[in-house]
């Protein structure tokens, strides 16, 4: 029924209860079902009782239907949205520590500028770059810097948000935002 040849990368956005053990429940499910997870990032939302998980998963339609349903089945999962075929923006961030001998510094700086990155740390022999972008852009930077000698990378998972005014949190987040605004005004 399912064929790995037709797998492609999907970006899932999950809203989950922000309490102990929820990440473990998600991780157990992924491990138990053998899903292919490329990346995962987790943080609190505007409503501190809710966390958002953004996940890159590989699968075909069949696999993804099961993945989404299985996540839904976890009681602590409030909402699951597959953003892949919706208009959305996604970003990754990477730190790259690259050899920067004096002769190469100008070239590395230029690459950093072209990719709208920043140098966040410098030593006599290295630069540490911070680049943000879609995964294609990150791959491109990495490839360009490879000849200089990349010593270490630290790469985040994908973050994604739907375009337009829709929010997947809708009520919860808006309500909270309004409440906190009112409070701010009152103060």
């Amino acid at each position: 029924m399912t064929d790995p040849k037709h797998y492609r990368k999907h970006t899932l956005s999950l809203l989950v209860e922000n309490h102990q053990g929820v990440l473990a429940k998600i991780a157990s499910l992924i491990a138990a079902k053998g899903y292919n997870i490329d990346s995962l990032s987790v943080a609190e939302t505007l409503d501190e009782s809710i966390s958002r998980m953004t996940m890159s998963v590989r699968g075909d339609e069949w696999v993804m239907e099961q993945v989404v349903k299985q996540f839904h089945r976890i009681i602590d999962v409030i909402k699951v949205v597959d953003l892949t075929d919706e208009p959305h923006v996604n970003r990754e961030m990477i730190f790259i520590r690259v050899n920067a001998e004096p002769a190469n510094r100008a070239e590395i700086l230029r690459i950093t500028e072209i990719f709208r990155g920043r140098i966040v740390d410098v030593t006599p022999m290295t630069y540490t770059l911070e680049i943000t972008g879609e995964s294609g852009k990150i791959e491109a930077v990495l490839e360009l810097l490879q000849p200089f000698g990349v010593q270490e990378i630290v790469r985040s998972g994908t973050l994604a948000i739907a375009r337009g005014s829709k929010t997947i949190t809708k009520r919860d987040e808006t309500k909270l935002r309004l409440a906190s605004r009112k409070q701010a005004v009152a103060e």
Partner: protein, 577 residues
């Protein structure tokens, strides 16, 4: 009112309507057991926590009421894992409370500490770790709600010692529950229901294939109505047995690995499967690539993950089986069709399969007892009592499914998904606790029974008059059958010739022990067992190497079903040759 956590816990159980719990005390849960003395709670002390959990499953399955168990931390909790997994696979609504070491030492390898929430994460529908005493009423409320709603399942609540000993204001047991990530769909989508009705009306060779969902939803009346309206031949899975009266003229018998030839052939030749609350287990589908190749499939299930998990479905309907059937039956009643005459050819074909391949065995007069005969005789003698029947796992379980033809739902309790040997007797114990005056029978195997038999003493202590019939072939029969058929009769670790004297064992545990050795003994011994008060163990000494047929070998297509006495195809041989 400031109360201790244990008092809040007990008051919550009371408010939840819990009258009977099964369990075993220990260090971390001591305070709870102390407070329990002041509450009118009936506690059945099982001698092993696994037994307590299976008993709770039996209690739930027989009564439909969520079962409750209380055990201690560490080994008490880890002993529940098999039962929890069994309950998850077979959708049993149970709530298990486990003691835990104080929160201050959690993670420090304290005495009798185990990471219970971590261990049971994948074998519960949901689990909780209570971290504040004041949260207890909400957690208990949510635990019972989650266990019994949607697709039922086991829920575990871990109770650290300091949380149950601590005090908090008790503001009463919550009346309502709201969990934002959990809203099971109940009603079926009307558009999908219409589509299903249209498909049903135009099918030429339809078959209704019902599963455990019918029992869990208490929908056997609606299911029977579906069969009566459409006049479609009907089969049930192992878990669905009782969903349709076995005396119904359209009853095909169980389907699957050891189902009837006719039921399985219907699945192969059908053009429309109407699947009501099953989950397309591999013991039913056989080889997936061959399953339902020429059929459209309608699948009704409360659990969305069951749909399209294993097989392609044309009309998925997510919803409670009872509610969906009410909707579907209403839709079908509008259709003007002479249901029977359209299916005449199909009926003829099925009758032919039934005539050529019935379930059968040959019992010689005064010969060694055939287990099928013993079970069929047990059925004939006890049918009028409408008993609750549980089983262990193995050959006897399949024979019981074939020959103990229960008429009503919640009368058949067996471990289907996990196939847990040792399940039958504890489940009977639990069912008997739910219905003290009803006849409860455990049809067991000698291998299965030996896994949990120490709790015979529990039956004696609480006067639970379970009648246990051990189909004793002194073998792990099903494993032996596979070794005979697929491994060239190389019997490896299946001989149970050395075993306890079950009659003496029963007596040692305060029960009555009986034995049947020749076929002529069977009927009188059954009658004696049924009329003897209190728990009775009957050692039915059976023919040793009887095989269970029909059989669809694991991984084979349904059409390759092997009926009684047919040779095993060479390609299935898995041995050394």
């Amino acid at each position: 009112m400031r109360l201790t956590g244990s008092e809040i816990f007990m008051k919550s159980l009371q408010a939840e309507g819990v009258h009977t719990v099964f369990g075993h005390p220990g260090g971390a849960i001591l305070h709870g057991y102390d407070v329990m003395l002041d509450f009118p709670l009936r506690h059945i002390l099982c001698r092993h926590e696994q037994v307590a959990i299976h008993a709770v499953e039996g209690y739930y399955k027989a009564s439909g009421k969520t079962g409750t168990a209380i055990v201690t931390s560490g080994p008490g909790a880890t002993n529940t894992v098999t039962g929890l997994t069994d309950a998850l696979m077979d959708s049993m609504a149970i709530v298990v409370f486990t003691g835990q070491v104080p929160t201050a030492v959690m993670g420090c390898d304290a005495f009798q500490e185990a990471d219970v929430v971590g261990t049971t994460r994948t074998c519960t529908k949901h689990n909780f770790l209570a971290l504040k005493t004041e949260d207890l009423p909400r957690i208990v409320k949510e635990a019972y709600y989650i266990a019994r709603s949607g697709r039922p399942g086991p829920v575990l609540v871990d109770l650290p010692k300091d949380i149950i000993m601590g005090r908090a204001e008790f503001k009463g047991y919550p009346e309502e529950v709201s969990i934002r990530g959990y809203n099971p769909s109940v009603n079926g989508h009307p558009g999908q229901i219409r589509k299903a009705a249209e498909l049903i009306a135009s099918a030429q060779r339809p078959v209704i294939y019902g599963g455990g969902g019918i029992i869990h939803a208490d929908a056997s009346a609606e299911f029977t109505e579906l069969v009566n309206i459409t006049q479609i031949p009907t089969t049930l899975t192992l878990m669905g047995l009782g969903g349709l009266d076995t005396s119904h003229p359209l009853w095909l018998g169980m389907l699957g690995m050891h189902g009837t030839y006719a039921a399985n052939m219907c699945m192969v030749n059908t053009d429309l499967m109407i699947a009501i609350g099953p989950r397309f287990d591999d013991r039913v589908t056989g080889k997936l690539s061959e399953f339902g190749k020429n059929a459209k499939i309608i699948h009704v299930d409360i659990d969305p993950t069951s749909i399209r998990k294993n097989v392609h479905v044309d009309v998925p309907i997510v919803g409670d089986v009872k509610r969906v059937l009410i909707q579907l039956n209403a839709e079908l009643r509008k259709i003007k069709r002479d249901w029977r005459s359209d299916l005449e050819e199909w009926y003829g074909q099925i009758a032919e399969w039934q005539r050529a391949h019935p379930l059968r065995y040959h019992q010689t007069a005064e010969g060694a007892i055939k287990p099928q005969y013993a079970i069929e005789e047990l059925f004939r003698v006890t049918e009028e009592h409408d008993p609750i029947v549980s089983t262990g796992v193995g050959q006897h379980q399949m024979w019981a499914a074939q020959y103990y033809r229960s008429h009503n739902p919640r009368r058949w309790i067996t471990s289907g998904g996990l196939g847990t040997m040792g399940f039958g007797f504890p489940a009977a114990l639990g069912a008997q606790a739910a219905f003290p005056d009803k006849l409860v029978i455990d049809i067991d195997g000698d291998g299965s029974f030996q896994m949990t038999m120490q709790d015979l003493i529990t039956c004696a202590q609480y006067d639970l008059p379970v009648k246990i019939f051990i189909m004793n072939n002194r073998y792990l029969g099903m494993v032996r059958q596979w070794q005979e058929l697929f491994y060239g009769r190389r019997y490896s670790q299946v001989d149970l010739e050395v075993q306890p004297d079950f009659v003496k064992l029963a007596e040692a545990c305060g029960c009555v022990g009986l034995r049947a050795e020749r076929s002529g003994d069977v009927k009188p011994i059954i009658e004696k067992a049924i009329s003897t008060p209190g728990p009775v163990v009957v050692d039915v000494v059976c023919e040793r190497e009887e095989n269970c047929f029909p059989m669809i070998p694991a991984g084979s297509a349904i059409k390759d079903i092997i009926d009684h006495g047919e040779p095993i195809p060479e390609k299935l041989f898995q041995g050394w040759r």
